[in-house]
């Protein structure tokens, strides 16, 4: 599918915002990338979620490199957490087909709001 010049500008501007957020907050850029793939590139949900990982990987690599070179990485907690993330990732990938999409989305949204409120205090 060809994109209009306007759509390309939308991709550039919002992807730049996603990159800045990912570097500044250490994550969160993927949510914007998924939304862009859905709304501008017109991919279906599962293609958007999968392709977003491809876009988020390089910007996470460069963000992580900056954090590393500026001395913000504490390797012991990082390695333990990464171990858990990888194990959980496999379980999540297996669970995906067994759960109802909207129920998961609402639970996820409520967890985010609760997390946001908690972080204010």
């Amino acid at each position: 599918m060809d994109l209009s010049a306007k759509s390309k500008w939308i991709l550039v501007i919002f992807s730049a915002a996603a990159g800045f957020i990912n570097g500044f907050l250490g994550g969160g850029g993927g949510v914007i990338i998924v939304a862009l793939l859905l709304a501008v590139v017109k991919l279906h949900q599962k293609y958007s979620q999968a392709t977003a990982l491809l876009a988020v990987l390089p910007l996470t690599v460069v963000s992580a490199a900056v954090y590393l070179f500026r001395g913000n990485v504490d390797w012991i907690p990082t390695l333990w957490t990464t171990l858990g993330v990888v194990a959980g990732g496999v379980v999540g990938a297996l669970l995906l087909s067994k759960l109802k999409g909207n129920v998961v989305k609402i639970i996820f949204a409520l967890v985010l709001i609760a997390g946001g409120i908690k972080m204010f205090f």
């Binding site: 994109l3 990982l53 491809l54 333990w80 609760a114 409120i117």
Partner: protein
């Protein structure tokens, strides 16, 4: 105890991440329960994401779910601004980063909630319409 919690929090956010729903947005608030500076938490989130992302991409490539058209329009500006974002974060205080993350998280949560509720309402409306149509068809046949 902290090691157990680190693995547990990583595991829980990994489940969400493995479902392709942004595990990082769950991991950061969970790790904020532990006594860690915000910049360390953000670095854990970035580095922890990398191996899981690589594994997931291998699966997605095998399942032909990756659509690479137009992706460079996204990657190039995102990578450039990610470097700037990470450098700005280095200069910012841990407290300021924590508040910024809290605002971002609440906004994304609210947005996702609205999208999910809208989708449920539109699904119910379309199923009610198809039920009406099938009952009309049955009445016509009689």
């Amino acid at each position: 105890m902290q090691t157990f919690l680190l693995i547990l929090f990583g595991f829980l956010s990994g489940i969400v991440g493995g479902m392709g729903m942004g595990g990082g947005t769950v991991l950061v608030p969970l790790l904020s329960f532990l006594d860690l500076p915000q910049k360390t938490i953000q670095a854990i989130n970035l580095i922890g994401f990398l191996p899981m992302c690589c594994i997931a991409l291998i699966f997605h490539a095998k399942n032909k779910l990756l659509k690479k058209d137009h992706i460079w329009w996204m990657i190039v500006p995102a990578v450039a601004l990610a470097v700037i974002g990470a450098l700005v974060a280095d200069k910012a205080s841990n407290q300021a980063l924590r508040y910024c993350f809290a605002v971002f998280l609440s906004a994304v949560g609210l947005w996702q909630l609205i999208v999910a509720i809208r989708f449920i309402i539109s699904e119910k409306k379309s199923s009610a319409r198809s039920e009406d149509k099938s009952s009309d068809d049955t009445a016509d046949k009689k």
